[in-house]
């Protein structure tokens, strides 16, 4: 599966970009900027998951379910088992979300279009309803997360930042290996023609289920890392439907064209949010909503297609 993956051009670009980012973030950039990169990269994992789903034209309006589930899994394991190791936290978040995705996948794999979106929404709101009222989980105040450790030593902010960068690189390698495989291409094929896929002897539902679990794992990992870097989990900013909407928004903003796009999109989103909040605390949602409409109208392929257009123009000028 991973044969020759490091020779893949978009994987090489991604690794390069993220390494540069890690160096800048660790040594040069001010704290608030590298924080934005850190949050952006973490949430980018969830966006990557949505992008993978979207390639089969499935849009989940409830992906915060896995994002929040991963985050709360980290919180609960700290509360009950005292787990603070960052590697364990990541594994727990991914595994918890993956298991939940596997279970719900048996139902969701039969759904398409708006029904898929609505059922995902319903599931995520079920979790929200539980968390918002569960007093032992802090209700709407949520729970705080203690700083992460790595084999016993406490992890500083910069170390966590680098850890997240490495996780992102691994996720990109894995996702690209999946997308370029026959199984990954099958998902575009499913979007084109489900009947044919069945007649080629493969179960459409199974292919979608696999994809769904991958997507859930990525979102869970994002939630786990986000919990560790924010030091806090709560239902309103991690499970509510508007969080799912935000993730879908970042997906459309990034575009489906490239494996690195979700992370660029998520980082840009963090910056827009920080700046908008700074400049116009009363109108930051308006700025984000306006950005969303502008992207839908003027660049339906997302930011990535803008990059490609720029590249194209540059090549033309050179000729």
């Amino acid at each position: 599966m991973f044969k020759g993956i490091l020779k893949d051009q978009s994987v090489q670009t991604s690794i390069g970009v993220i390494f540069i980012l890690l160096i800048f973030g660790s040594f040069i950039l001010p704290e608030w900027m590298s924080n934005n990169f850190m949050y952006g990269m973490s949430r980018g994992l969830a966006v990557l998951g949505l992008m993978i789903l979207w390639r089969t034209n499935l849009v989940s309006f409830g992906h915060a379910l896995y994002y929040g589930f991963g985050a709360y899994a980290v919180a609960l394991c700290q509360k009950f088992f005292g787990v603070t190791d960052i590697l364990l936290r990541l594994l727990i978040a991914v595994a918890a979300a993956g298991l939940l995705g596997f279970a719900l996948g048996f139902i969701l794999r039969k759904y398409r279009e708006i029904f898929f979106a609505m059922l995902s929404l319903a599931f995520s709101m079920v979790l929200y309803g539980l968390l918002a009222k569960a007093e032992f989980l802090g209700s709407t105040d949520g729970m705080s997360i203690s700083p992460s450790t790595f084999f016993g030593t406490e992890l500083g902010r910069i170390a966590l930042f680098n850890f997240i960068g490495l996780v992102v690189i691994l996720a990109i390698i894995f996702a690209q290996a999946y997308l370029r495989s026959s199984l990954g291409h099958l998902t575009t094929a499913i979007q084109d023609n489900e009947i044919r896929v069945e007649y080629l002897g493969y179960s459409v539902e199974k292919a979608i289920h696999i994809k769904y679990v991958i997507s859930a794992c990525l979102a869970g990992g994002a939630g786990g890392l986000m919990a560790a870097s924010l030091g806090q989990v709560d239902p309103d900013s991690m499970v509510l439907w508007s969080v799912s909407g935000e993730l879908v928004f970042v997906t459309i903003m990034s575009g489906l064209g490239n494996i690195l796009a979700p992370f660029i999109g998520a980082v840009i989103f963090e910056f827009i949010r920080t700046y908008a909040f700074e400049w116009a605390p009363q109108a930051w949602q308006m700025i984000i909503g306006g950005t969303l409409l502008a992207i839908i109208f003027f660049s339906p392929g997302g930011l990535w297609s803008l990059f490609q257009k720029l590249n194209f123009l540059r090549k033309k000028n050179n000729e």
């Binding site: 044969k3 370029r180 575009t188 009947i195 007649y199 080629l200 002897g201």
Partner: protein, 249 residues
């Protein structure tokens, strides 16, 4: 059921909310036979193909394949046991290239699951794929997106995708409709000779009697959901009922 036959149907019937689309269909097919299915539009040919390949579930009756009851199986199960098909309206992946289409079909047909995890653009697979595209004379179009192709080209791709699964029984639904007059014999020569070599049993729905006469061992004629003639092409095409109800003269 007789095991000498690869495919047998017994009193197959299909009705859609009371309207009968096919009934009393009793057909036995020997291994390696090439059979032409003819009939006017709406005579029940495609319904028959759809029932055999699991797209439609028969209302009553049985279908046996190699002595096993396969009535009402799912399309992908039909493919697994070796009953494959092409479609009247080509069912291909419109937004992908010709080569990607065929390579997906090829990697799904490999019995070992591992192929699915290999890159689609695998070198070995790519070479095999080129050979097949060459055989069907669509190699030049290999890198074109399917939606830009002509109907005839899509048809060929559709058939090629069905054939790469190495079926035991292949059902082709109007393989030459939409293919240009000059090309149709050339293409059918390629397809039929390849299938004969591998001993594949073929049933194809066809409107073009020239094609029927040239390639088939046996003709089955449908009229209003029933089989009205099951004979050698020479005799069938002279059959009174066939002339009246199918050939329309």
């Amino acid at each position: 059921m007789n095991n000498n036959f690869i495919l047998q149907t017994k009193d197959l019937q299909k009705s859609f909310s009371g309207i009968i689309a096919a009934e009393n269909i009793n057909i036995s097919v020997k291994e390696g036979e090439i059979i032409g299915i003819i009939g006017a539009n709406g005579a029940g040919k495609t319904v028959f193909v759809n029932m055999i390949t699991g797209y439609l579930k028969p209302t009553s009756g049985k279908i046996h394949f190699l002595g096993n009851d396969i009535t009402g199986i799912k399309p992908r199960e039909a493919t697994h046991i070796g009953v494959c098909r092409s479609f009247q309206v080509s069912q291909v992946f419109m937004t992908m290239t010709v080569k990607q289409n065929l390579m997906i079909a090829m990697s799904l047909s490999k019995k070992k699951g591992g192929q699915l995890l290999l890159p689609l653009e695998d070198e070995k697979l790519s070479k095999e794929c080129d050979k097949i595209l060459d055989l069907y004379k669509i190699k030049k179009q290999g890198d074109l997106i399917v939606s830009t192709l002509s109907q005839g080209m899509r048809k060929l791709l559709d058939i090629a995708m069905a054939v790469v699964g190495n079926p035991k029984v292949l059902l082709l639904d109007e393989p030459t409709s939409g293919v240009s007059v000059e090309e149709k014999f050339g293409i059918m020569d390629i397809v039929i000779s390849a299938l004969k070599k591998s001993g594949t049993t073929v049933l194809f729905v066809e409107h073009d009697m020239e094609i029927v006469e040239r390639y088939v061992d046996r003709v089955i004629a449908f009229y209003q959901g029933q089989v009205i003639c099951d004979d050698t092409p020479k005799k069938a095409l002279k059959n009174k009922k066939v002339i009246q109800y199918v050939l329309g003269s």
